[in-house]
């Protein structure tokens, strides 16, 4: 559990009064773009950084007062931080060997425990190899085995799949979930990949510029994003400028359905590409949804697999629509043809740009010239 956590690097506020409750045995993902503070939050949970303000509580006790032994936290580093001069076996055994004498198991018991973990992680054949002789996925599994060896209650993972290629990534996702379910760990992981977070986690905390924008199950955050940022971050987005007048939103003269009351003024309607429905320009009503006035011009079509992505010009802006191949053929759309647009499942937010601009300006006032040593490295830049 995190209470009002604040962290500054020099004058840059990395975490701004963050609150987060993590339940026992939960699998939670911290999701956000680089620079959002998610890795810093994870490192504070681990005790690797100290917060400038606020407390981390574990089972009701301030973790700062707990010894490492009592905290029982395992941490898997983004680039694994394997001990290069030790074999796989020695890496996994390390946490067991450095225990104080009275708590240490016998050498035979350590060997047995390490062997167990290695076979659990399918690393048995590699126990005498050095980390440099392993593939990325194998290194990741060594890092996991090494951490599990100390039998933590809480497992923290920093971009666990960031440095792996797509196929290995999905495999390891599954095995991580299985380990979580079979060991009864509480797991917190950091990722910038929304698909990964939504796929894996029980709950997702979406972070942006040092604050948590929304916490919820993957379905909750995807279906009911509470802020434009969350909506935008969780998938492709089309944005329409609109105006809210006496509780109703309008694009031009067309009224848009509102799912909640919004104060009057400029607003933005967000809609996912697969919720943009297309119909022939001759006025025939195609599918349901809020039909927008006027027609759009097809600018680009990319048909890959079952889905076809079309880019349309509407009111001097680009709209992305994702439709099935069948309906593409049914509409007989090609580049240069015209169609009408209907929207469904759209969400209207008050225009926060203005608000956000002032927030940026506020921060700019306290922000130093350069970004110092940011912990959120881009994992794909390897």
């Amino acid at each position: 559990m995190v209470k009002s956590l604040t962290k500054r690097f020099e004058d840059l506020i990395v975490l701004d009064r963050v609150n987060l409750q993590i339940h026992d045995k939960e699998f939670i993902g911290l999701l956000g773009p680089s620079g959002s503070g998610k890795t810093t939050l994870l490192r504070i949970l681990a005790g690797l950084e100290v917060a400038d303000d606020g407390v981390v509580e574990i089972a009701g006790r301030d973790s700062g007062t707990l010894s490492l032994e009592e905290r029982r936290i395992g941490f898997v580093f983004q680039h694994y931080a394997l001990f290069n001069h030790m074999t796989v076996f020695q890496n996994v055994a390390f946490g067991l060997q450095v225990k104080p004498r009275h708590a240490r198991k016998s050498a035979a018991a350590i060997t047995q425990r390490v062997r167990e973990l290695l076979s659990l992680m399918q690393l048995k054949a590699f126990e005498d190899r050095f980390p440099a002789q392993l593939s990325g996925g194998q290194r990741q599994r060594v890092a996991l085995a090494r951490t599990l060896a100390i039998e933590p209650n809480v497992l923290l993972l920093d971009e666990p799949f960031g440095a792996l290629d797509a196929k290995v990534r999905v495999e390891l996702r599954r095995s991580l979930r299985e380990i979580h379910d079979s060991t009864g760990l509480t797991t917190v992981f950091v990722t910038h990949d929304q698909a990964e977070a939504l796929d894996l986690a029980d709950r997702v905390a979406i972070m942006n510029r040092g604050i948590i924008e929304q916490v919820g199950t993957p379905l909750e955050v995807y279906d009911a994003p509470q802020s434009p940022f969350v909506f935008d971050f969780l998938g492709h987005t089309n944005a329409f400028d609109c105006i809210v007048r006496s509780g109703k939103a309008y694009v031009g003269e067309k009224e848009l359905p509102l799912d909640k009351t919004i104060r009057d003024g400029p607003a933005v309607a967000f809609v996912r590409p697969h919720d943009v429905l297309l119909a022939p320009a001759d006025g025939r009503q195609g599918e349901t949804g809020t039909r927008l006035p006027g027609t759009a011009l097809v600018r680009f079509i990319s048909a890959l697999g079952q889905r076809a992505v079309t880019e349309l010009f509407y009111e001097r802006r680009l709209i992305e629509a994702e439709i099935t191949r069948e309906s593409l053929q049914g509409l007989d759309l090609r580049v240069g043809s015209k169609c009408t647009i209907s929207l469904r499942h759209l969400r209207v937010y008050p225009r926060r740009e203005a608000e956000q601009q002032t927030r940026v300006a506020e921060r700019a006032a306290v922000r130093p010239r350069k970004r110092r040593r940011f912990r959120d490295r881009l994992p794909t830049l390897r």
Binding site: E69, P131, R146
Partner: protein, 289 residues
Amino acid sequence: MARASGASAGQGLVPALSEGPRVRAALIVVAAVFFLFFLLLPLLVVFVEALRQGLAAYWAGISEPEARAAIRLTLLTAIVVVPINTLFGIAAAWAVTKFNFVGKNLLITLIDVPFSVSPVIGGMVFVLLFGLPGLLGPWLAAHDVKIIFAVPGVIIATLFVTLPFVARELIPLMQKQGTDQEEAALMLGANGWQTFLRITLPNIKWGLLYGILLCNGRAIGEFGAVAVVSGHIMGLTNTMPLHVEVLYNDFNFVASFAVASLLVMMAFATLVLKTVLEARAAWKLPTLP
């Protein structure tokens, strides 16, 4: 240029970075001549001069009491200085690379001072500090502690001159390695001492040995700073390089070159060790992708 040399005729494409045979030959000859005249010949001269009057004279040159005293003092200096500067180097590199603190950049700069000032100035500083007219001189004299023109002065001057070697070798290495592995060890329950002995030290050991070798080489060979503080007292405060100079100035060429040849052999042994270590380090730590 490669094309103009005609090497490409009949061979198809020439790699962009290759030179023609004539250019290559010229470069090799230049390098070989340079190597011969500036490296090999001077070394040979040392041995030729040392053995000019036969092995007996050579042996006499290095076994006379003053020569033996000089050898002893040089070895003593190295034995005292190298461990101290090794410890200092590790501590400084550890502090600079694994922690953040105020004045860190200043410390890094200060470590380089002995490299950037002339060794003679290094010696002078200590004369001004510990010498009779110096800052602490009267106090030291009153308590009958002799530093300048005595063995402690030689050791202190050598300490100063060789201070940066280990730290300079380790700092870039440890900066490159970062703190990830140390943090991992801490998260696995290791304490600071275990982390240092089992993680940090093994990771830096080749660089450390290399730094120690360089430090040792300089400690044995240092002339300028030691010359200022030692006072050239034969059999007492003369190190090997100083002894060589004294003998040479006395026209005792055979003995002078005999002692010099010992220095050359020590330096050569250091270089061989260094090469072996570098080869081992490259073999031992395959670079991670």
